[in-house]
Subunit: 323 residues, 2 copies
């Protein structure tokens, strides 16, 4: 398994609900509530949060407070502050704000890339190369991690199946352009575990020492099974949303990301350390529920509670019982 | 992996919604609707259905039509008709009706067994031995398969952790008494994949040629990941409920079984043949929804639909793309 670059954690979980969860929600979440969410989830032990997206606010008004939210989040000790970028213009905003990580997205399928970022995949790649060159021109102390994310890598709502060789082609192109990290995304929740394992094994092999994360949507119930398959392939970084918020405006039928709370419960029960306090994490849901009472919230752990007799923080009882 | 005793199927899926799904629902589902459900799901390719429970109807009025439903279900060609039995009295009803399979249940945890079947585990075991002796006294042509089911095998709402050595102890006792088959049940949805794999590996080893099935509840979101872990351990039989109906009146906080529709989608996408037509299966939900409009129904596949370009019946596109 790839290392998480933190000896205290076996798996790095990344909260993406503030970006992927809020981008399709019509109601603006006040900046103070977003910040309370970021602070509480960081306090619960989530090490990395994608706090916003540097897309034009006129396209997605939810992200009109991207600057303020980024700057305030950067004040939280030890939190890795990330943001999505669709292009070089977004990257520039991120460079100026000095966030730690910029997640560039392009889609493996032609149609989804055109709908989502309004250009060809070749133009996305050329832009990514420019972004990496801009990063390299910065002083080393201010260089953020630039992530190359591949959406619709496991299926596309417009085109259907996506060939694994296309995923490898674009993964290689992103690495060649200078990606510090890759993310393989099942944007529309088509994937099942065999495809996930196969794809992740091949991408991880291609990437070598470059970390590769996975981003699953739980559209058809297979989200956590796909996580298990990815772990078995060697992946140790996963995106998830608190309460499974999320979706994609340009992916018909797509529903929320995998549920962060249930993900952490599963990993914890397997003895894989995330650094996350499960009860504290469940508590964060209240901030979202109170600020956006109409947003659909998912998750079994929050509904059912921790199992009786459960030992927290990486020592979930199943593992002890097995020993 | 254990064989499914059917060369057309890699995995045997068993519908338990008519029993596990309906037993806690306060509203009676008319026998005609139950029968329509059984017929439609058999027609969709589900090979085995637990149609009812031979508990006293005064305890669970939902099962007042157990005899009629069993007899009508037995007229459906090729369907394996199963029913739950809590004791020898229930077994006698099953023997008289000549159903194909009787699923005896006892719990690995003392408290749950006392609450669920009102006696000690030792009394349950002695009763199971009597049931097996009754079976052996029948003419060979009329002997049903007698299954020994172990509830709370992966955790208990009353007692918390359940030691794997207790599971093995009771599994061995059931085998010794004459079980034709075992089922390991995560009645209250505590399990995570590592415990599942560990437990299933050990029980399968113990059981040798005796088939071992798994019964998961999706209480904390880990249901399908647990299926994947069980498959990796060699298990090829899974209980599930259409639309994830289910729960247990004596297991606080337990929610529905794993969703049959999502389970079949996952297996199909992995190239594991179930014999189930996914679209026909989704169509069966209408019968339940119309008859019991208040029952909570779950499932991602039914909400999102099959992925675009999906090939049905064991040839889900992800596998083809990988090939």
């Amino acid at each position: 398994m790839q290392a998480t670059q933190d000896p205290q954690r076996d798996i790095l979980v990344r909260e993406v609900g503030l970006r992927d969860g809020l981008q399709i929600h019509p109601q603006f979440m006040p900046t103070a509530a977003k910040l309370a969410w970021v602070r509480a989830e960081a306090a619960a032990g989530v090490p990395e949060i994608e706090v916003t997206s540097y897309v034009p606010p006129k396209l997605i008004p939810q992200f009109i407070d991207a600057e303020a939210l980024s700057l305030e989040s950067l004040k939280i000790p030890s939190l890795v502050v990330a943001a999505l970028i669709p292009n070089a213009k977004g990257a520039e905003r991120g460079f100026n704000l000095k966030v730690h990580k910029l997640n560039f997205v392009m889609s493996v399928s032609r149609t989804h890339n055109e709908k989502n970022v309004r250009r060809s995949r070749e133009d996305s790649l050329a832009d990514f190369a420019r972004i990496c060159a801009m990063r390299d021109a910065l002083e080393p102390a201010y260089r953020p991690v630039v992530v190359g994310g591949l959406s619709t890598a496991l299926g596309c709502s417009y085109e259907g199946p996506v060939a694994t060789k296309s995923v490898l082609h674009y993964a290689e192109a992103l690495l060649h352009a200078g990606a510090d990290e890759l993310v393989i995304a099942d944007t529309v929740g088509f994937a099942t575990p065999k495809l996930v394992r196969n794809t992740m094994e091949q991408v991880l092999k291609l990437a070598g020492d470059v970390p590769v994360g996975a981003h699953f949507h739980d559209t058809r119930g297979t989200g956590l099974a796909n996580v298990l398959a990815a772990i078995e392939a060697g992946c140790s970084r996963f995106d998830a949303s608190l309460a499974g918020l999320g979706g994609c405006p340009f992916a018909p039928g797509a529903t929320g990301n995998i549920v962060m709370d249930d993900l952490c419960f599963m990993l914890d029960g397997m003895g894989l350390r995330t650094g996350v306090d499960l009860e504290a994490l469940i508590g964060v849901r209240k901030i979202v529920a109170e600020s956006l009472p109409d947003i659909p919230m998912h998750g079994g752990l929050a509904r059912a509670g921790l199992p009786k007799g459960y030992q927290r923080l990486g020592t979930g009882f199943p593992v002890e019982v097995c020993a």
